[in-house]
Amino acid sequence: MLQDEADEALMLRYQQGEVRAFEILLNRHRKPVFNFILRFVQSRELAEDLLQEAFLRVIRSAGKYKQQAKFTTWLYTIARNLCVDQSRRAKHRKAKSLDSPLSSSDGSGTLLDVVAGNELPSDRAAVSKEIQIKLQSALAELSEEQREVFLMREFLDMPFKQISEVVGVPENTVKSRMRYALQKLRLELEEFSDMAKALPYK
């Protein structure tokens, strides 16, 4: 069954001209990649553009694809590079007010647009939208290096070794960045610590 095949096998199938294989890959990865980009650039429009560009690069490079590394490593390397390039193009990276545009160079909406609406899980219903905005804001306060590591580890469940491959730095550096990120977020979210204590840890 094509749906059960590994990413690498599907990519090889697409390399042989099987478009259905790419469709499965896209359906499998578009959401996590999009959320990674969205949390990184904090602009939905920009995130969609970068998502499209990331998969377009996959399409264009399909002929040269070789099964040397995990497909996800390759895909997130592309996505991460796009995010870093985009971030470097941005003039200012400051903590935004909820009403101010996320990026001064584009009119891509506000932080409220980034934060999800009513799709909260039932056990998380108590977590207010304000907390989510605060979380997003805290993420934006992280440096790019810390943010990308944190996003990959927390939201994509990538092992540190794979993150080091994507980012291109030693594993220990990745761990250091992760620890810095957690330290910083802990300080940023100090006010929600009591609420966090009430949350069941998964």
Binding site: V19, E48, F55, M178
Partner: protein
């Protein structure tokens, strides 16, 4: 500031590893011996992770997905050709070699040398082929010919008999005897003149000068056309028209060429209508053309116009030739082959056999064959 990150502590890789191993046990890192990790820090980080764990995810718009699918279909790599064919496979194999100038030059050199070598070998074979065919008079049609020639013993007694009782000893390979005064040398002067160039052949005698020319010209009237006369018999049976080279043709030694058919009108209609019991061999003509120094026989029409009696004689001889045993031409051919090899003893033996089979053929054709000249020089 209490919030300040103590960089000294953060730089401690051991501590960081232990902390992260506790936070992310699924990574498989060892967690024991984490004495540097404070509970407070660990718990604080765990709470942070709990807050982010349930951040809701968003879906990209369907427009992006559809666009990507369209692009994927548009830019889908072409399926790899499964059956590229032998030429494509061969070119793929050679391309890396040809792409290198050094390899290309070497390959060209190898190609040229290979072609030249092939042509050389082939050319040599083609050069040798006419000799073989002329020697053996279509040896290819007689597969056992060469082995027979090689293995057939020549009895001393037989040779001695041919030599008029003289035995052949050691290197004594005398076979022929110049029979200028032989009985058969009774050709008329005119005819002698006519066949001057080949009179030596006519004078040739075997086995102690017993060669007697049959017919009006006798041995001395050895017309070259006698030799050709073997093939002059225009057997135009369908079988004889069959192309050469097949086994069937090999069994039928004669193939009538258009040239021979042109000569056919010189024969009487009676002869023409008479079915030939056995076709004659063509190789006599071939060997004549290639090896004999004598000029080719004139067209039969021209011969007939000059001399009516010759024509009559010719017709008689042809009849006799036709009646001759089919073995005689074969033996004749073997004799020619043996003469080419210088095996005059063999020629002598074959001549004896021919004479015993068909003395007429022996007198008219065998004795007068210029190709057997080589053995004439060997004195008895």
């Amino acid at each position: 500031m209490s919030d300040k990150i103590n960089t000294d502590v953060l730089e401690d890789e051991k501590e960081t590893s232990d902390l992260l191993a506790l936070l992310y046990p699924e990574d498989g890192a060892e967690t024991e011996g984490s004495e540097f990790v404070s509970d407070d820090e660990f718990l604080g980080m765990q709470r942070v992770r709990s807050l982010f764990r349930d951040m809701p995810e968003q879906e990209p718009s369907d427009a992006v997905t559809n666009r990507l699918l369209a692009m994927a279909a548009q830019h889908a790599p072409k399926p790899a050709a499964g059956s590229k064919g032998i030429f494509a496979w061969f070119s793929d194999l050679l391309m890396p070699l040809v792409a290198q100038p050094g390899f290309a030059a070497a390959a060209t050199l190898v190609l040229v040398v290979g072609v030249a070598g092939t042509l050389y070998v082939k050319g040599g074979a083609e050069m040798a082929q006419p000799q073989v065919s002329s020697r053996a008079e279509a040896p290819s049609e007689d597969p056992v010919y060469s082995s027979n020639v090689a293995n057939e013993p020549i009895g001393e007694g037989a040779a001695a008999g041919l030599l008029g009782g003289k035995s052949i000893k050691g290197g004594d390979r005398a076979v022929f005897k110049e029979g200028k005064a032989s009985k058969g040398n009774s050709a008329t002067p005119g005819k002698q003149r006519k066949s001057r160039s080949k009179s030596a052949v006519g004078d040739l005698n075997f086995g102690g000068g017993q060669g007697t020319g049959s017919g009006p010209g006798g041995g001395g009237q050895a017309d070259e056309r006698r030799v050709i006369g073997i093939v002059d018999a225009p057997d135009v049976s369908p079988k004889s028209k069959a192309p050469r080279g097949g086994t069937e043709v090999a069994a039928e030694p004669v193939v009538v060429t258009p040239e021979q058919q042109v000569r056919a009108p010189t024969r009487s209609s009676e002869q023409k209508n008479k079915p030939s019991p056995k076709p004659k061999k063509r190789p006599a003509t071939q060997s004549y053309d290639k090896l004999s120094s004598a000029p080719p026989a004139p067209p039969a029409d021209a011969v007939g116009a000059n001399d009516d009696s010759d024509e009559a004689d010719e017709a008689d001889k042809k009849d006799e030739d036709k009646k001759a045993s089919p073995k005689a031409p074969n033996l004749h051919a073997k004799a020619i082959s043996a003469a080419k090899r210088g095996d005059c003893a063999r020629v002598l033996s074959l001549g004896r056999q021919i004479r015993s089979i068909d003395s007429g053929y022996y007198d008219r054709t065998f004795l007068q064959d210029a190709r057997l000249k080589a053995c004439r020089s060997v004195k008895k």
